[in-house]
């Protein structure tokens, strides 16, 4: 059960139960919808971007604990970031959850997001951990929908 505890860490369970920024900012300037057709998870990301900075960000949708906590923790983290910084963080995060076993990640630089490191032991759940991230990236790039397929 230890790798399950590694996956379902207290922080993840907390953000699943009480997701942060689970709302649509009134002044949002872009949005995108993400679907995981495999399990039916869906999330809509909203962001308020001013002068290349993410002033506000929120999400709505329904999903498993991993995808809900991923959306919640991501929105907490990226608020106030520039779009460029977000894209860099996206790559680091993606590496964190997909790096093969034994390969070094930059978990220590990711702060709270490091709780998702356990996901890489569960390849079937990578899409859950990355759905909100892909969706926000698409919203910021002017896209409107993404799917994980």
């Amino acid at each position: 059960m230890s790798d399950l505890r590694e996956l379902y860490q207290t922080t993840i369970l907390d953000h699943n139960r009480n997701p942060r920024n689970a709302r649509r900012p009134v002044d949002s300037t872009c949005e995108a919808r993400g679907d995981n057709p495999l399990c039916g998870d869906q999330v809509t990301l909203y962001a308020t971007v001013e002068d290349g900075t993410i002033r506000d960000v929120g999400f709505e949708g329904s999903g498993c604990a991993i995808s809900t906590a991923a959306a919640s923790l991501m929105t907490e983290r990226v608020k106030g970031m520039s779009v460029e910084e977000f894209v860099k963080l996206f790559d680091r995060y993606h590496e964190l959850v997909t790096a093969p076993h034994g390969v070094e990640t930059h978990a220590s630089e990711l702060g709270k997001l490091a709780v998702f490191e356990g996901v890489r032991e569960f390849p079937m759940r990578v899409k859950c951990a990355t759905l909100a991230w892909h969706t926000l990236r698409s919203a910021l790039a002017g896209g409107d929908t993404v799917t994980t397929e």
């Binding site: 059960m1 790798d3 399950l4 505890r5 996956l7 379902y8 369970l13 139960r17 495999l38 399990c39 039916g40 998870d41 869906q42 329904s62 999903g63 498993c64 604990a65 991993i66 809900t68 569960f122 079937m124 759940r125 859950c128």
Partner: protein, 407 residues
């Protein structure tokens, strides 16, 4: 001979393994079922000894392959209670069978303004081909709703049936709710209105005796891989008089009588519907699987699985926060449920670590999920080799999930 599950399990090599250090409890049979040694051996024997081109080679292997392929067709017919093997068309699976009917029958027999009837509990494969047909010919798709228990509202079917109804397409057993539908009654009502009936038998054949003559339907489709045969093979049974009237749906080798640039004529039934080199090995495997099922006794299999469902239902209901989706009076081999505060996908992962294989998701039945207001469910589905120990492992895994989530 009485049904001996321990002996049955001996026939399935894949069941005897540990997953994440726990004995495998395979409860994802509605998605795909495991294969007995008899099927695996039949495939190996075919490829080691008999493999050749069907219906054309004059050499010995070609003759043996043709005999095996046509023998498999006769086995499929017999297993469905059909008397004429020519009523059996080999396809890739249930999905292709339904698409075949939608194309070959639908495009020529359904016109603008006509109606096709499906139900709220259909799998996407018995929804989307009809939507495509409706879009192509301008017909209208009507849907028979289900009640909260997960049973079809037959009075609604009566209200929908009319002079313009061409077809009722219904699943034999719901892949989500386990509901065993009253196919005979539906057929009587549909025929009285002048409509044909297609039955999606993907969840029927593996779990109970099926007799198409007794059901009275016009088309019956099923998949090999859910009935202990390989993937990529399945069968469509259709009344001979219907097949004889239909043109082909795919063109190619094997489905013609003669070809010239001026005029091509079609082969007879069922070759007309089997363009290209067939999946001979798959057909051989399917026949072996159906023979295996016949030896086990479809009636005994049905009783065994019903007993498992009856054992599992109260055990699941006793878990705090667990809600069964659908409680049909007549249920076969499938249980779907959700748990308060734990998403189906998380349950699926936790159960997997306990060695329990289930399906978590929308089960290719999104309209039905919508009907019950759930994004996804966990589905445990039984086959003839499952035991009470498998159910116990499922229940223990769900308790573990509650512990992890602090529920």
């Amino acid at each position: 001979m009485s049904f001996d599950v321990a002996q049955i399990r001996e026939d399935f090599p894949i069941l005897h393994q540990e997953v994440h250090g726990k004995p495998l409890a395979y409860l994802d049979n509605a998605a795909t079922a495991q294969k007995p040694r008899q099927v695996i051996d039949a495939l190996a024997r075919f490829y080691e000894r008999d493999n050749g081109a069907v219906h054309r080679a004059v050499h010995a292997l070609g003759a043996r392959s043709t005999e095996a392929y046509e023998g498999a067709r006769a086995t499929v017919a017999r297993s469905l209670g059909a008397t004429d093997p020519r009523e059996v068309v080999f396809v890739r699976g249930t999905t292709e069978a339904i698409n075949l009917v939608a194309a070959a029958w639908g495009r020529s027999r359904v016109a603008s303004g006509d109606e096709l009837v499906i139900t709220e509990m259909e799998h996407h494969s018995n929804i989307v081909p009809w939507q495509l047909l409706c879009d192509a010919v301008g017909a209208r798709l009507r849907v028979v709703p289900v009640n909260d228990r997960g049973e079809l509202l037959l009075e609604e079917l009566d209200a929908i049936l009319g002079a313009g109804t061409r077809l009722v397409a219904v699943t034999h057993v719901s892949n989500v709710l386990g509901t065993l539908n009253p196919v005979r009654e539906i057929v009587e009502r549909a025929h009285a209105a002048g409509a044909l009936v297609l039955v999606d038998g993907a969840q029927g054949v593996p779990h109970m005796p099926v007799d198409v003559r007794e059901l009275g339907c016009d088309f019956y489709a099923f998949s090999g891989h859910k009935v202990f045969a390989p993937t990529g093979i399945g069968a469509l049974w259709a009344r001979r008089e219907i097949l004889e009237e239909l043109g082909p749906w795919q063109g190619g080798g094997g489905m013609i009588a003669s070809v010239s640039f001026e005029k091509t004529t079609w082969a007879g039934v069922p070759e007309r519907f089997e363009a290209g080199s067939p999946n001979t090995g798959g057909a051989v495997g399917l026949a072996a699987a159906l023979e295996y099922l016949e030896a086990a006794g479809p009636g005994a299999v049905e009783r065994h699985e019903r007993a498992l469902v009856e054992y599992a239902e109260p055990a699941l209901r006793a878990i705090p926060g667990l809600r069964l989706i659908g409680e049909p009076a007549d249920r076969a081999s499938v249980l779907s449920f959700v748990m308060d505060g734990i998403h189906a996908h998380d349950l699926g992962t936790i159960l997997d670590r306990e060695g329990v294989a289930v399906r978590a998701g929308h089960h290719c039945a999104q309209p039905l999920m919508e009907r019950y207001g759930v994004p996804a469910t966990v589905r445990a589905s039984f086959a003839l080799y499952n035991t009470r120990e498998d159910v116990d492992a499922l229940v223990a895994g769900l308790h573990a999930a509650r512990e992890i989530f602090g529920a």
